[in-house]
């Protein structure tokens, strides 16, 4: 079916957070730290306050009241200590955006700078083992005798891969409009992936009861994780509105988004794989080195997919973290799985080369009976089906494994494969369904961040009610609606859909209204390994003259339970794969070692794929029945598309050129310097 909100979006009528018309609105613009570490000695706001239209200057010089246990990235203006370059240390509120921006430039800040350290290294003396990695996995696991497994292996691969800082780059910049009413209740129009969780976090930060805060986010222009947790712009809007007694808008610039809305940690990953003569793993070790800020621990679960993928008698996974003078990394599409599977699936390709076994066949030979890390049975797992179907569609059986031998003029041609995986979980959610105006109204505080959640939930409700979708109206994106979890972790449709199905079932019984809270149902979910799987195949052309790399074909085959809506699903899969292509070949934020902070903070310098980079991308899926997931039998599909893409492309580049680039992104510079 077509997107429910398609017409209002393409005609420009859909209202986003910064666009709500409010009378008497003022604008806040942040002042950001120019040092990466040290202390704010003095803030001189006199010149700024003299400028036209300026209403107030907020800063660490006069800390506004916030909850003492506020999240360290949200506790604006509370401490004089600077944790990273770009941190918000002051803000100007003015009648217009341009006045606020000009005045922010006039705020004089004196610093007491200290020596900063912004560089992740695998031998950093500050590395430590976090207690858990996100969201709550043990940092390290060890099963079997790793060294013995490596010692008895017929082939060993010992390789280190690195991935750079990556930024989410949602199309809609982070923005919020905060309005306090006379009773002291706060309304925030925010660009967020979850109205309920955003409301809770804003209330906690401000020390307010939840009932005194409402968040509205009816349309959101992408998030990719960066809007999954409350960001400082929303707190700034609320504080500025409180100080000035005016509604206040904050709209971050693209550059500010790079500084204060999160990013994917860079990683250094060492993989040691051993295999016997038949290609069966004898040992698998995956150790990830990554960073967090001095403000708080964020430990990406990079090595966790190694606990899911392959059968091996010896498995060791570990994470080491170092706290640097950088912004806190955060959620970005397929956190953990995306960088982790890049390294693991590249190393598997190296193992295929080392053993002389076809990389599809190598993966098939290492299919586990149960989840390797936990021993739990899988609710369903059809990686093998994805690999076989992908190989058939892609023409894999005609592939000559010899690298660096196919040529079309100056262009070297190669193909590569990699596996994808992502957890299929769900969270408790509430929903209400009722009869309204001859149709049906379904309410849930879900978020549609461009994925088509509104459309998918309409379809789920209509199917449960046994009516046409045009008789169902889904209302979402408002924390006053029944509480819902965030659009994240590929859990949105599974969580919200479960509640919508139950509410609609209750409505059918009641005839007028149905209410659902899935907390008990979700709490009773049996202990199983629940994951979606996939296989990605890439064909690349690499110029032997310039080192330019073009992906001529990209195919993803996924086994992700029942697909709720084919059109939406295809968009999610190919969107993820396209983002994975960007990760493989171009995306990279540079950390400025001299001054701290990030460089290349705009979309002219941070390259994401243009249409011309994606001439042929296709996603298909297998029929998969899995009754043990949720009432729809669906697995989340928002993230798996980006998992494995970079490995498939990197493996294809190796097949084309005979050269293995182990540092993302794989650029022409790296190809040329390798002098294949």
């Amino acid at each position: 079916m077509n997107r429910v909100e398609g017409r209002v979006k393409v005609t420009g009528l859909a209202t986003y957070a910064a666009e709500y018309p409010v009378e008497g609105v003022a604008y806040a613009y942040p002042v950001q730290s120019l040092i990466a570490k040290g202390r704010v000695a003095r803030v001189d706001a006199a010149a700024a306050l003299d400028l036209p239209g300026v209403l107030a200057v907020l800063s660490v010089a006069d800390p506004p009241e916030l909850a003492e246990d506020a999240d360290a990235e949200l506790a604006l203006f509370q401490r004089r200590e600077v944790a990273y370059r770009g941190q918000i240390i002051a803000a100007v509120v003015a009648e217009t955006y341009d006045q606020a921006r000009a005045a922010a430039d006039a705020v004089r800040v004196e610093y007491e700078p200290a020596d900063h350290d912004v560089s992740l290294r695998a031998d950093h003396p500050g590395l430590y083992r976090p207690e858990v990695v996100n969201p709550n996995f043990p940092s390290d696991t060890e099963q079997g005798d790793l060294e013995a497994g490596l010692a008895q292996a017929a082939a060993v691969v010992d390789v280190t891969y690195t991935t750079p800082v990556l930024h989410n780059n949602a199309m809609e910049p982070h923005a919020a409009l905060a309005v306090w009413d006379a009773e002291g209740t706060l309304l925030v129009y925010d660009s967020t992936q979850g109205a309920t969780t955003d409301r809770d976090m804003i209330a906690k930060t401000l020390g307010l009861p939840r009932g005194r805060v409402r968040v509205v986010a009816r349309h959101v222009g992408g998030g990719f994780g960066s809007k999954g947790t409350t960001r400082p712009h929303a707190v700034l809007a609320a504080l500025a509105a409180r100080v000035t007694d005016r509604p206040v808008k904050v709209a971050l610039t693209r550059q500010q988004m790079y500084d204060v809305t999160g990013y994917r940690t860079p990683t250094i990953q060492r993989l040691r794989l051993g295999a016997d003569g038949e290609g069966r793993l004898t040992a698998l070790e995956h150790v990830a080195y990554e960073q967090s800020s001095t403000l708080k621990e964020f430990a990406e679960q990079t090595a966790v997919p190694a606990r899911v993928m392959y059968a091996t008698p010896a498995l060791r996974t570990a994470h080491r973290l170092v706290r640097l003078d950088v912004a806190t990394p955060s959620w970005m599409r397929a956190p953990g799985e995306c960088p982790g599977m890049y390294a693991l699936e590249s190393a598997m390709d190296e193992l295929a080369c080392a053993t002389g076994i076809d990389p599809v066949e190598l993966r098939l030979r290492n299919e586990p009976e149960t989840e390797p890390g936990s021993g739990l049975p899988f609710s369903s797992r059809d990686l093998a089906g994805c690999l076989r179907e992908g190989a058939r569609r892609f023409g894999w059986e005609r592939r000559d494994p010899e690298p660096g031998v196919r040529r079309d003029g100056e262009w070297l041609i190669g193909t590569g494969v990699a596996a994808s995986t992502y957890p299929s979980k769900r969270s408790p959610c509430q929903a209400v369904a009722c009869v309204r105006d001859g149709g049906f109204l379904v309410q849930v505080a879900a978020a549609d961040i461009g994925t088509g959640a509104r459309t998918a939930l309409t379809r789920i409700a209509a199917e449960t009610l046994g009516v046409a979708p045009d008789r169902v109206h889904v209302e979402l994106g408002d924390s006053d609606l029944p509480a819902a979890p965030v659009a994240g972790g590929s859990m949105g449709t599974a969580s919200w859909g479960s509640a919508v199905v139950r509410a609609c079932e209750e409505l059918k019984k009641d005839g007028r209204e149905g209410r659902a809270d899935t907390a008990e149902e979700v709490g009773q979910d049996s202990e199983l390994a629940r994951h979606a799987f996939g296989a990605q195949f890439a064909e690349v052309r690499v110029s032997a003259v310039t080192g330019e790399i073009r992906v001529s074909r990209l195919l993803g085959v996924f086994a992700a339970g029942r697909i709720v809506d084919a059109r939406l699903a295809r968009s999610q899969f190919i969107g993820g794969m396209t983002m994975g292509l960007g990760m493989a070949l171009m995306e990279e934020t540079l950390t400025d070692e001299e001054f701290g902070g990030f460089l290349r903070r705009d979309l002219a310098q941070y390259h994401i794929p243009a249409c011309a980079d994606v001439p042929d991308v296709e996603a298909v899926w297998l029929e998969e029945e899995d009754e043990r997931l949720n009432p729809m039998g669906s697995k989340g599909i928002g993230e798996i598309g980006i998992v494995g893409t970079a490995a498939a492309i990197g493996n294809a580049v190796h097949h084309a050129t005979g050269h293995r680039v182990r540092e993302l992104p794989i650029t022409p510079a790296k190809i040329v310097m390798a002098r294949f």
Partner: protein, 323 residues
């Protein structure tokens, strides 16, 4: 954004007459408006010259005169440009995006500023933006900056594709200004940074580009090729505009090579051109010429790739042009 006033010039002479310190001429605005938003450019007076009657492409005595306000798209699709200067059309079309080319003017394309990350970030030092503040790119991010003709003060590159083609075509830039009218042959418009990187070009305050005049195309086959890691909407890592004329005996009768992405200005590979004249048009001669030209390169740690990339691009392009 800081306050500024805006006016439209009635004519080129009117624009020059109204010029005073703090004035910037506004063309398509595709670079200047960005720089104003970033705080890099802070004009007090914006004088719009985009609507002056300088928007024609005309044939004048076998030469092609392109008005300064001609939009990039209009230049690239013009039948005479496509027929006689396909290399120029190709260069323009490899730049920017369709939307930007629809707005950007010929003069604006020539006068666009470097995209060096430090230049574009007012919170960091940059000798080009704030003379004497230093050049952090030399130790920091210079992976797409200069390997030829740079100085200890600046390692920026000029980002234009069009200017590289114009350098190979030996176009003339027509300028009017407080000192009268003059003609600057390409690639003479842009200068190397030396110790005054704040000056991108030889233009004086108040100078206004009115036209670019193309002499008849040189004999031989021509090609523009741009290397970039994304297939569209990216500045060149290295680019080349080349013309090769091979005599009946297989020797090089004429050769022009201009390189982009390597220097503060479009780089005419004069040394390579000189060496090739009279030599056989073969890969060996092309390689020797390319290597001779690139002997002058002084790559930095993170842009050393540009030297072999440029060398192979020169050789490959000339081989394609050789009959």
């Amino acid at each position: 954004m800081r306050p500024f006033d805006y006016a439209r010039a009635a004519s080129a002479a009117d624009a020059v007459r109204r010029y005073r310190p703090g004035t910037m001429y506004l063309g398509g605005g595709t670079n200047l408006v960005d720089l104003m938003r970033l705080g890099v450019a802070r004009p007090e007076h914006l004088l719009d010259v985009s609507r002056l009657p300088l928007d024609a492409v005309e044939e004048v005595r076998g030469r092609l005169r392109v008005g300064a306000a001609v939009r990039n798209t209009d230049l690239a699709v013009h039948p005479l440009v496509r027929a006689r200067y396909p290399m120029l059309a190709r260069a323009v079309l490899t730049g920017a995006s369709g939307q930007i080319r629809n707005m950007a003017t010929v003069a604006g394309n020539l006068l666009q500023r470097t995209r060096c990350a430090y230049f574009q970030d007012v919170s960091r030092p940059c000798n080009k933006r704030r003379p004497g503040s230093g050049c952090p790119a030399i130790e920091g991010d210079h992976s797409n900056l200069a390997v030829l003709g740079h100085s200890g003060a600046c390692v920026a590159t000029h980002p234009s594709d069009m200017a590289v083609a114009l350098a190979a075509l030996e176009a003339e830039v027509h300028v009017t200004g407080p000192g009268g009218d003059r003609i600057i042959p390409m690639p003479g418009l842009h200068r190397l940074p030396g110790d005054a990187p704040e000056r991108d070009t030889v233009l004086e305050p108040g100078d206004l580009v009115t036209a670019v005049e193309l002499p008849p195309p040189p004999p031989g086959a021509s090609l523009y090729r741009k290397v970039r890691e994304r297939a569209s909407f990216a500045f060149a890592l290295v680019s080349i505009a080349a013309v090769l004329d091979v005599a009946a005996d297989g020797t090089v009768a004429g050769c022009r090579i201009a390189l982009g992405g390597l220097a503060h200005a479009p780089w005419r590979a004069e040394r390579a051109e000189r060496e090739l004249i009279g030599r056989p048009a073969t890969g060996g001669a092309f390689l020797a010429a390319a290597e001779s030209e690139l002997e002058q390169a002084r790559p930095l740690p993170r842009n050393a790739y540009k030297v072999p990339m440029a060398r192979d691009l020169i050789v490959n392009t000339l081989e394609e042009l050789a009959p």
